[in-house]
Amino acid sequence: MSLSEQLKERRYQEIWDQYCGFLDLSMEEYMNIQRRLMEEQIQLWSNCELGRSILKGKKPKTIEEFRQMVPLTTYEDYADILLQKKSETLPGNPVIWIQTTWEGGRHPIKLAPYTRSMLDVYRNNVIACLILSTSRERGKFDIADTDKILYGLAPLPFATGLFPLALNEEIGIQFLPAVKDAVNMSFSERNKAGFKMAMKKDLEFFFGLGSVAYAVSQSLSSMSQKGAIRPSELLKYKPYMLLRILRAKQRCKKENRPLKPKDLFHLKGFMVAGTDNWCYKDDLEELWGVRPMELFAGTEPSISGTETWTRNGMYFFPDTSFYEFIPEEDMLRNLEDPSYVPRTCLMDEVVPGEKYEIVITLFKGGAFARYRVGDTYRCVGLQNKEDHTKIPRFEYVDRVPDVIDIAGFTRISKNGIQSVINLSGQPITHWTALKEYNENNRPYLHLYLEVEKNALISHAVTTDIMKSLLTTYFKYIDQDYRDLKKILGMDPLCVTIVRCGTFEKYKETKGKEIGKMNPSPYELRELLELQKEQRR
């Protein structure tokens, strides 16, 4: 029975149990699901050509053997097979190939295959998110077949494009604008069309990247300020929407503030995904009047977890993939010494307060095994009295330290920065890069660099010139960086030129060079202190 039919027959308890029942699992039951599905996946994966190419003759039988025999993998290990879409070599038959950019990779894009069974799990978990986004307490939710959702997401072949298709297999939720129209629109056209429709028909859901949702919300206030409603279109509006628009305008005039989405819409559910959501959540709540619920999804891991009505930490779905966690200590050691093999622990071995890098093995014939997604999470508790759960709860921290992710839009790697510097032709001798946040809580990339002393005579090297030059080349090598400016209106680069000789001095005093990506604030402070010392 589809969700639509269940809703029609008002089987609310059944719906809740079916989709959100995983929240009632005990640790043991949760691990039982993980292990059962993992055993199935080991069979599928070990017997396909892709698996054999990584296993190199070994044949794992148990989960423990699998964890020993399969090395931790990255996309590089799968690129040859996946980029050429060699379906016959995969553990499951792909129904659709999802695409994402491969920053710093040897190919512009990454491709990830989805099997039909993976899509079934994906669909159920997407519905779970939809339900949870409307719930205010256990078992209570509010969704209807006639609800409308603003389509603030990239269409296929990107992972977000699966969302409407999967959802519409079960429920008739209407996307604004309709998916088949949205695929032919640019990002801003899509938003404009979506909002126009929402103003006429009302809106119940909104889902987007946190940063994008914020940008979109702001464009709404400017949109509604600019265009008064044309009389010819008056009849297309629902009367109560007209009433709301009028009232909202009046109120804003009285309070002397711009129009906010919450004046017009009373959302049932608000979902955000991506990195840096915490910087936007408060602003988004202020704009929409609803606290966004965070969910965790990606191209390779599909949809992996969601927050609940408490909006306080997320839970991983038990049936998407097998989770392993690399403790922070091992992750950092592995960053310094790539030959070191980090330990991993399982869901029932995580410790509250500890930060972990996540490693997944997809279930249901997925291609990725012991795959390092590149995200870090902190375990915030093993049980929760507030929402009565008995499984570990996590919060998203950020990407792994050697990748700088800005607003969920682009991932900047060490190689990326180095090639930008090379391309710019500037006489930069040393650099280190950090992700920092400005006073409005917005993330940016802070590049500390040192210029060759002798070149100062022949080159113009002001901070502004550096910044604009490097920005130009970041845009050149990275399409997403370009979109950052275009879509979010962000300029995420900040350049600080460090006094000549400081990096050398650091090496002398510390005995090692400062890390190029995300050195600890302590190390950075030391570096900056050193230039003062030099002055003295």
Binding site: E5, D80, Q84, E169
Partner: protein, 839 residues
């Protein structure tokens, strides 16, 4: 009897008729609201009639029924109009309902808003006298608001979509009639005549007309015989129950003498009316039924037009799926198209974008056989057919998993070129025979359109693609190049040409089939690397071109470098035996930096490739004076690459010598003949060297064969012959362990293959046998014939050459034999013993 009564009765009768008709229709929203509307009309006219007749319980009760009907009618209209125009107006739907109902209920106890009339007898006739107060305005004013809102909605709907303008005309006319009727009551002319009710009937007719025009109904259900009789009976009863006193009165007046036969007359009349009503009912149903078919026919006609115009298979498949969904409800629709090579039916399109299309229906599936006979088939019927017994369990399971309920063949004359698979719609409805007939109509035009589009697409595709690599062909590439050059005059356009190094040698080593496979592999790598960002073409035999709009030299170089790396790794993954690693020489040029015309761009890239070739191959060169960068890596001296293994070969041949001196000298002889033939063929020095080494090692596997068999004088038994045949595999077994010598494997493994495909061990045919192996085969046989063995005498040189010629095209390559014979006869190739002596 007054006009009032019988007009009311006729109206009531009419409304009931409509109500019952639509009661059996499928309960979509619009039909439900229409029923509600008719129900209010029944209350109104029925209440009014019964009030006048003062029927039990009281005229006041019937007054309320009538008023309720009248009051709620605008509300029913409001709902109906919204449903008719596909509008959602939940708020007002609720509000008006509650409000009007509240007014109605408020009026019941005391008649606060409009009091029931007084019954007064005037001139022997009963007349109702109403007492109006200002409060009545509240009652009818409210109703008027709803009516006005209803009109506003109609205007809105029509503005949004002009199509509705025509659809709403009869409804608006109907409402106007209703109004006119009520207004007319104010004129004394109509004082005694129920003009309002009469025009109400007209209104109802208009409504039905509107519904028919919109063609919304599935009235098939009503066409059944029993339903017709049932409804006829109910209507006749209703009619006679009401008209009986009147009829009796009239009969008594006109035919007083027939009093005794009243019952009889009545029965005949009843039967007659009943028959007429049933007949009328059937006629109406028949017409409605035809209408629905006409509506479907109209849809199908539109579909036919649409697909006839399209030449894109995917577009046609999408249209086909859409029309099927419109006419027959189905949750999942799949279209499978016959694969031209295998003949199996591969799923190609589905109405749900995420449906799994990886399944195939084999051409020998019993389902296909039945469809050849039957066109369409319901699974539930199929299960009881004898052919179902021949279904594989997996085939059954597949269809069950997809929940297929109906299969329809797409035909091209006698052949089934595609299969339509449909699942049942959600809910209880099941696909039936009539649905199947509808789909068959669609399928017949779809299959023609698909066939045409297929032909067009494949012709289009073939004219533009290279058959072997599936990349663009040279001709089309030039077309694209010119187009893109013009398009990107203000931007940039990069061109890379990739030339495979030593590909001729590769072909000679492993045969053309392996060469073709390598080309296909490289094409695949290039295609997947370029993706959507540019065009890839087969530029010439072993050259590929990549055109990258908006790319500059830097980005193009990165891409080509990634391709280079992948090609380098490609041959590593072959499982059969290790193939020679392929390298590429690539040249890149980009406009506008170094070229201002298409010709210049091509020339630059070509020159860059030539430069790499001259300077040692395996590299990427950029033709650009500004960014000139030499990226040649791993330059090796190709000349001596194959000479480094002399010592290994010596060691192996020495081992043969110890074990079997004959084989040792035979190998040397074969090396002599083979290299001589290779030189006659003008092969390059690398190839000649490889052939020499292969000849020396070709029988190394004989080390493992017992001497008794090797030197047996008589005929070999079958078992012994099998052992001898095993020496080829044994040779490979030995050479395989010397990775540096793997390049001789193709020659060794193929030297007992026959040109006609009857050799061993792999039974390869013709030019698929590597050239080196074909050379070795001639040299090997010639030496075997011209030397003495324990089991045979020497065959003279002339006779041996003659045998070679006789076997040309059977055992030997017919092109190589004349070269060898000619070389022998003209003295360029000498007998091995003579050559040895001379040295």
């Amino acid at each position: 009897m007054q006009n009032y009564s019988y007009i009311s009765i006729i109206a009531l009768f009419f409304y009931c008729f409509i109500f019952l008709t639509f009661l059996a229709a499928k309960k979509v929203k619009i039909v439900k609201y229409f029923l509600l509307l008719v129900a209010t009309m029944i209350c109104w006219s029925g209440g009014s009639a019964f009030m006048r007749m003062d029927i039990y319980p009281s005229y006041i009760f019937w007054y309320h029924v009538s008023l309720g009907g009248l009051l709620l009618m605008p509300y029913a209209y409001f709902l109906f109009v919204n449903a008719f125009g596909d509008r959602e107006d939940r708020f007002f739907n609720g509000l008006y309902g509650v409000f009007l109902m509240a007014l109605f209920v408020l009026n019941i106890p005391n008649g606060t808003l409009l009091r029931w009339p007084e019954m007064v007898e005037r001139n022997g006739e009963i007349v109702f006298v109403y007492q109006y107060t200002w409060k009545v305005a509240v009652l009818f004013g409210s109703a008027a608001i709803v009516v006005i809102h209803c009109f506003i909605n109609i205007i809105r709907i029509c503005r949004k979509d002009r199509w509705y303008l025509k659809q709403f005309q009869p409804i608006v006319l109907g409402i106007l009639c209703l109004f006119a009727g009520n207004l007319a009551l104010l004129f004394p002319v109509f004082h005694e005549f129920p003009i309002d009710i009469l025009l109400g009937i007209v209104n109802a007719i208009f409504l039905i007309y509107a519904l028919l025009r919109k063609r919304l109904f599935q009235l098939k259900l009503l066409a059944s015989e029993s339903a017709c009789y049932g409804v006829g009976l109910i209507l006749t009863f209703l009619l006679y129950y009401n008209l009986m006193p009147y009829i009796t009165k009239q009969t008594a007046l006109w035919f007083p003498e027939a009093e005794n036969y009243y019952i009889m007359i009545f029965a005949v009349l009843f039967l007659f009316t009943f028959w007429i009503l049933v007949f009328l009912w059937q006629k109406i149903m028949g017409n409605l039924f035809v209408k629905e078919e006409a509506q479907h026919a109209e849809k199908i006609r539109r579909f036919n037009n649409q697909v006839a115009k399209s030449l894109h298979v995917d577009e046609i498949l999408a249209d086909t799926v859409d029309i099927i969904q419109e006419t027959v409800e189905s949750a999942n629709i799949y279209i499978c198209i016959q694969d031209r090579d295998s003949g199996d039916y591969q799923a190609r399109y589905s109405n749900q974008p995420l449906n799994d299309l990886s399944f195939t229906i084999r051409k020998d599936n019993p389902l296909v056989k039945i469809m050849e006979r039957n066109d369409g088939l319901l699974m539930r019927e199929f299960r009881s057919m004898i052919e179902y017994k021949a279904m594989w369990e997996e085939e059954k399971r597949n269809l069950q998993n997809l929940r297929i309920e109906a299969c329809i063949g797409l035909r091209d004359e006698q052949n089934i070129v595609g299969i339509l698979l449909l699942s049942n719609p959600p809910g209880n409805h099941r696909i039936g025979r009539s649905d199947l007939d509808m789909i068959l109509m669609i399928a017949s035009s779809a299959s023609i359109a698909i066939k045409n589009a297929h032909l067009y697409e494949s012709a289009y595709y073939e004219a533009r693609t290279d058959e072997l690599t599936q990349l663009l062909n040279r001709k089309y590439f030039f077309e694209i190049l010119r187009e893109e050059f013009e398009k990107n005059e203000d931007g940039s356009l990069a061109l890379a040409i990739i030339n495979i190094d030593d590909f001729k040698l590769y072909n000679q080593l492993y045969g053309t089939q392996a060469g073709d496979n390598a080309l296909r592999g490289i094409a695949q790598i290039i295609k997947s690397s370029v993706g959507e960002s540019g065009y890839a073409a087969r530029y010439s035999g072993k050259e590929f071109a990549i055109l990258l709009p908006k790319y500059d030299v830097f980005s193009a170089q990165n891409l080509v470098r990634s391709i280079q790396k992948q090609i380098f790794q490609m041959t590593d993954q072959t499982v059969d035996y290790k193939l020679k690693v392929l390298t590429i020489s690539a040249g890149i040029s980009a406009a506008p930096y170094a070229a201002k015309s298409v010709e210049e761009l091509l020339e630059n890239a070509d020159m860059a490739v030539n430069h790499v070739k001259r300077t040692g191959k395996n590299g990427i060169e950029i033709f650009d004076t500004v960014l000139r960068e030499n990226l040649i890596e791993d330059v090796e001296d190709h000349k001596n690459i194959y000479k480094g293994y002399e010592s290994t070969i010596y060691a192996l041949t020495a081992a043969i010598d110890v074990k079997d001196h004959y084989t040792f000298s035979h190998s040397n002889n074969v090396a002599h003949y083979a290299t001589s033939l290779a030189k006659e063929l003008k092969l390059n020095s690398d190839m000649v060297e490889i052939i020499r080494q292969a000849a020396l090692l070709h029988d190394v596997g004989k080390i493992g064969i017992p001497e008794a068999i090797l030197n047996k004088a008589g005929k070999l038994t079958e078992e012994e012959y099998e052992i001898i045949k095993g020496h080829v595999e044994a040779s490979i077994g030995i050479i395989r362990h010397l990775p540096s010598l793997d390049y001789v494997i193709p020659a060794v493994i193929g030297h007992h293959e026959r040109y006609d495909g009857r050799g061993y061990p792999r039974r390869t045919v013709g030019e698929n046998i590597p050239l080196s192996a074909r050379i070795l085969c001639i040299a090997d046989s010639f030496d075997a014939m011209t030397t003495k063995r324990s089991y045979k005498d020497v065959i003279p040189k002339e006779r041996a050459l003659q045998i070679l010629e006789e076997e040309a095209g059977k055992q030997f390559d017919p092109k190589l034999v004349p070269v060898f014979v000619c070389g022998m006869q003209e003295g360029r190739i000498q007998m091995a013993n003579e050559a040895g002596e001379r040295k």
